[in-house]
Each structure stands twice: as structure tokens, then as C-alpha cells.
């Protein structure tokens, strides 16, 4: 038993190390001016990167806020579409259900480039290219599979029984959804929402193609620096990127939790 515990601890620590180490290096990089190979530590430190980002004339923060807003919109729309789809897949039985379950994942399996090329032409014709709506729509493609898939699993566990009980007690379908299904679904919505937000927030190619350079997101801002090999700038942007997603996730969790705690008294 002792021995097994020890092995378990070692494995866990190794895993944590591999998770944390890159982040530490990222943090160090974002403050270092010169860090030539094979030195273990940077030769000199500086805050050029942060100065650049916080300089209003570079609009980095503005674009960051815009990106958060865009991804939030995408997340909300994705969840709205995913809930009914996931309920159908998770609760009801119908012909071809398994095929649909696999087909839902298709956008992740098929490279988005393939789809986006075709969509781009259509969007240009419909006047959706280079617009906010167009970018939101195209972000839905890689996001919906995650939303539907995660919520389907939640619905499979939840089942329909609580909703049926609510109906029997006199709730109409809408009331049953709002008062019973939604609160029970909350933890699932949280994890699906986080996932979808990250997928949308880190979308580079689709935004670039459909946004046509007019819609600029944070990940697009980051890309040139990574490409040109400016490691310091790339690290600064990456750090901000990670901090943003983490903050958004934490805020989301706090909001959902406090909402459902605060909502209790509404029932009486």
C-alpha cells in the first residue's frame, strides 16, 4: 500500500511538473531581453513586451476586450443551439441516433479549412464576409461539437425523470425547463461553456479568413510575433491570453454558482 502510494505521488508530481513548467518558462520569457541558448537563465530582463501591450496606441487591450466579447457571444449562441440538440441525443431514442452523434463531431474531424473555403465564397455573396456576424457564425462550426457533445453526456445522466415529475406537478414545458432542467444542467453548461469559449477565443484561421483582416481578435494579434520569432513578445501575448481565459472561466463559475445560490428563495 505504502509503495503504491509513493508511486502514485511520483506520477502525480511529474504530471504537475509537466503542466506547470512550460508556464514558468513562458513567464520568464515574457520578462527577458536576451536569453541565448544554452544559458539556464536569461542574460538580462526587461518589460518591453508589457510596455507595448499596455500602450493605448497599439490597441492591444481594446482588441483583447473585443475578443472576449466575440467569444462570449459565440459561447452563448453555441449553448442555446446545443441544449435542445443535446437533449434530443441524450434523452430521446430515434432512428439514426448514433449516426447523428458521430456526425455532430464532424466539424472537429474535418479540417476547418476545407469548410471555411466554401463558406467564405457564400459569405461574400451574402455580405457576411468581413463582418462580426460572419465571424460569429463561422466560429460556431468548431464550437458546436464541443457544446453538444458535453451536454449530451450531461443529459444522458440527468435523464428526463425530473422534468416529467415537474410536469406532473403542474409545470408547463417551459416552466419545467427553466425551474428544473436548467438548474440541474448548470454544471454541464459551465464545463461546455468554458470549452466553447476557449475554442472560440483561440480561433485564428477562421477569424482571419472570414474576418478578412477587418475583424481582429487577440489570437490574430499574437500570430505575427510568434511567426517572426520575437519570443519575448510572443510570450507576453501568450501570458495575457492564458490569464484572460482563466479569468473568464473563473468569473463564469462564480456567476453560475452565486446565481443558483441566490435563486433559491425565489421558490417560496
Amino acid at each position: 500500500m505504502e509503495k503504491r502510494n509513493l508511486i502514485f505521488k511520483i506520477i502525480m508530481n511529474i504530471l504537475i511538473f509537466f503542466l506547470i513548467a512550460p508556464l514558468i518558462i513562458l513567464a520568464i520569457w515574457s520578462f527577458s531581453k536576451i536569453w541565448p541558448w544554452p544559458d539556464l537563465f536569461p542574460k538580462s530582463f526587461g518589460i518591453r513586451g508589457f510596455k507595448y501591450i499596455f500602450n493605448p496606441s497599439n490597441k492591444s487591450l481594446k482588441i483583447l476586450m473585443f475578443s472576449v466579447w466575440l467569444s462570449t457571444v459565440v459561447t452563448v449562441i453555441t449553448l442555446l443551439i446545443s441544449i435542445p440538440a443535446a437533449k434530443a441525443l441524450g434523452v430521446y431514442n430515434f432512428k439514426g441516433k448514433r449516426v447523428f452523434k458521430i456526425l455532430v463531431l464532424a466539424p472537429i474531424i474535418v479540417p476547418p479549412v476545407v469548410v471555411a473555403m466554401g463558406i467564405h465564397v457564400a459569405f461574400i455573396r451574402m455580405g457576411l464576409a468581413n463582418t462580426f456576424v460572419g465571424v460569429v457564425l463561422v466560429h460556431l462550426i468548431p464550437c458546436i461539437p464541443y457544446g453538444v457533445r458535453i451536454l449530451t453526456n450531461v443529459f444522458e445522466i440527468l435523464g428526463e425523470s425530473m422534468e416529467i415529475q415537474a410536469r406532473v406537478l403542474g409545470a408547463n414545458p417551459f416552466q419545467a425547463f427553466i425551474h428544473i432542467t436548467l438548474p440541474l444542467l448548470a454544471p454541464g453548461l459551465l464545463s461546455a461553456g468554458s470549452m466553447v469559449f476557449i475554442v472560440s477565443f483561440s480561433q485564428y484561421f477562421l477569424t482571419f479568413l472570414i474576418g478578412g483582416g477587418k475583424i481582429v481578435t487577440f489570437s490574430m494579434l499574437m500570430f505575427p510575433f510568434i511567426k517572426s520569432g520575437d519570443r519575448m513578445m510572443a510570450s507576453v501575448y501568450s501570458s495575457i491570453f492564458i490569464l484572460t481565459t482563466l479569468t473568464v472561466l473563473l468569473v463564469m463559475e462564480k456567476m453560475v454558482k452565486s446565481y443558483y445560490k441566490g435563486e433559491n428563495y425565489f421558490y417560496l
Partner: protein
């Protein structure tokens, strides 16, 4: 308070007939049991009554009006499910208030009604608890209070006691019966437990294979089953074929006096507990030998061989016999139920 009538209800699921021509009449304020093994269609019947499943054909009348076109939430038929299904994110009082809130009952009225219901099920002091903090019996009380809070026309109980342990089951059974009598609410109870059905109900419907085989008072069902299938549902029986002639029942083991003269070729059903065993021959005793004996606390199960016939007997354990002992069994053929022998 309502009377319910089910008229020729049938239901198929994927080509399989689950309910066959169900007819049932429940009087106002009565408690009726649907008794049958699992898979006999009891729960389906309840769901059809509540409006959760649509029947293929037939009609449901409550107080004489068809309710088939009334959606679940407005039918006034509440089911308490086997696993209670309390809403986990609500406290006890929020659970009880749920139906009232959905019906948009005023808050002051709602609070009063909830308090009354919690008094009724004796859960005072637990109002602010969440379902996960309650015991099985308490959960059931909440489920019943929640169902009764909306003053339903009909209360349906789906195997309400099967998740409780034996002791608690008896307490809750009594408790629910009391409340039912007190409120006089028309109730249908679904169960596979024969004792539960006999003890709680005014009327019992035996359901087997999607059909109601017999409907009557508990005593009627137990003492005068209409068929051997119904009789067998209440435990193993002894059957002996014979003939009725001049007020006598003539069979392999002898000739016995009886008042019965319905038909001549009969199959007599002798309940194991109605067989008397004694060491000495009285009047009309049949000589037999004890083949096996199973001790079960207050009762002892015997099998006794007489000629080529084996009898199952149940005796109180005050008087015991040993295996291979020679005994005389005595049967009162006036109490025996005779069925027409079909073969």
C-alpha cells in the same frame, strides 16, 4: 375528490402489446391497488392516467369527463414515483411549494399551504434542509407532501414503499393510508407486493400480462380467485382434479363432502394454510408421510406425500412434525375453491 374510469385502454410499444383492453372504475375517495409482477403494465397504466403516455385507444374519464386531451400539467393527476424524484437544488419547503408556484398561487397562500402540508407529513423542523440531507422515509414524506400540496384530483403512487427497508415500509404504509383516509383523495397504488395491496386498498386489481384478471375487494380476490393464475399469484397452491357427484367431491385421495355443485369436472384449489395435520386420525383424514420441512420462524413449510399426490402445507411452528413421520391431513372441502377443469 374524483372518480376515475378507464375504458378499453390499450397500448402497444414497438409492436408489443403492453396493455390489453383495460377497464377500471375507481370510486370517489377510494384507494385501489394495481397488483402484478414487474412488466405487467402497471406503471404504463399510471403514466397513461397522468397523461405522460398516450393510449392507442380507449378513454379516461375523471368525474365523467374525458381527460385525454388535457395535457399533463392541467390534468390534476399527480404521480409519486418510486424514487421520489425530489428536486435536488431545492429545500424541502421549496420542493413542496413547487407545484403551487407553477400554478402561480399567491405567495401568502402558498406559504400557508406549504406549512399545512409539512405539518401533515410531520416534517416540521426540516423545512430548510435539502433532499440529500434527509433519510429515505423523510424523502418519501416530502414527495407525498409535494404531490398533495397542489390538491390533485387523483393521487397515483408508483411502488412507493419498495425503496424502504421492511420496518420503515410498514410505518410509511400506515402513514400514507392514514393521510389518504383523512383527505379522502382518490388514490391508485401500483405494487408488486401482495400483502401491501391487500392491507392498504379498498379494491385490488390483479394485472397480469397487460390485462386486469380480477378486480374486487381484497377478501374477494384472496378468497374467491376467478382463475388459477390469480390464485397462484398469492403464493403456491395445491390443486387436485376430481368430480362433483351428489354433494361429494371424488378424487384420487378419497371422497369428500361438499356443498359445491357448479360443474362436474373440477379442479380443487387447497391453500397450504388450510390443511390441518395431526398425528392421529380424526374424521376423514388422509394418511400421508412428511417428505420435507422448512423452518421459517413463525411458520413451518411441509410437503406431505399421500399416494401419488404431494401436498404443500404451512403450519404455525407451535406444533411441529418430523420428516418421515406418518401424519393424517384433513381438508375442509367446503372452504376449498373449485375451478372448472378445462382439460
Amino acid at each position: 375528490m374524483s372518480q376515475i374510469q378507464l375504458k378499453n385502454i390499450s397500448k402497444h410499444f414497438e409492436g408489443k402489446q403492453v396493455l390489453k383492453d383495460i377497464n377500471l372504475f375507481v370510486k370517489e375517495g377510494e384507494m385501489v391497488s394495481l397488483l402484478g409482477p414487474s412488466g405487467c403494465g402497471k406503471t404504463t397504466t399510471l403514466k397513461i392516467l397522468a397523461g405522460l403516455i398516450e393510449p392507442d385507444c380507449g378513454d379516461i374519464l375523471i368525474n365523467g369527463d374525458s381527460v385525454l386531451n388535457i395535457p399533463v400539467e392541467r390534468r390534476g393527476v399527480v404521480i409519486v414515483f418510486q424514487d421520489y424524484l425530489l428536486f435536488p437544488h431545492m429545500t424541502v419547503e421549496e420542493n413542496v411549494a413547487f407545484g403551487l408556484k407553477m400554478a402561480k398561487v399567491k405567495k401568502s397562500k402558498r406559504i400557508k399551504r406549504v406549512r399545512d402540508m409539512i405539518d401533515l407529513v410531520q416534517l416540521n423542523g426540516h423545512e430548510k434542509k435539502y433532499p440529500r440531507e434527509l433519510s429515505g422515509g423523510q424523502r418519501q414524506r416530502v414527495a407525498i407532501a409535494r404531490a398533495l400540496a397542489i390538491e390533485p384530483r387523483v393521487l397515483l403512487l408508483d411502488e412507493p414503499f419498495s425503496n424502504l427497508d421492511t420496518r420503515l415500509r410498514e410505518t410509511m404504509r400506515e402513514f400514507v393510508c392514514q393521510i389518504q383516509k383523512k383527505l379522502g383523495i382518490t388514490t391508485i397504488l401500483v405494487t408488486h407486493d401482495k400483502e401491501e395491496a391487500l392491507m392498504t386498498s379498498d379494491q385490488v386489481a390483479i394485472m397480469l400480462g397487460g390485462e386486469i384478471k380480477q378486480f374486487g375487494s381484497p377478501a374477494e380476490i384472496y378468497e374467491r380467485p376467478v382463475s388459477t393464475i390469480v390464485a397462484d399469484f398469492f403464493g403456491e397452491k395445491n390443486y387436485i382434479k376430481g368430480e362433483i357427484k351428489d354433494r361429494f367431491f371424488i378424487c384420487d385421495v378419497g371422497k369428500f363432502k361438499t356443498d359445491f355443485n357448479g360443474f362436474s369436472k373440477v379442479k380443487a384449489m387447497v391453500r397450504p394454510e388450510e390443511i390441518e395435520i395431526s398425528a392421529r386420525d380424526g374424521e376423514n383424514g388422509i394418511l400421508g408421510i412428511i417428505k420435507s420441512k422448512t423452518y421459517a420462524g413463525e411458520r413451518v413449510y411441509y410437503t406431505i406425500k399421500t399416494g401419488n399426490m404431494e401436498w404443500k402445507c404451512i403450519l404455525s411452528s407451535q406444533k411441529t412434525f418430523n420428516v418421515d413421520e406418518k401424519v393424517f391431513i384433513k381438508i375442509d372441502f367446503n372452504k376449498v375453491v373449485f375451478f372448472k377443469d378445462e382439460e
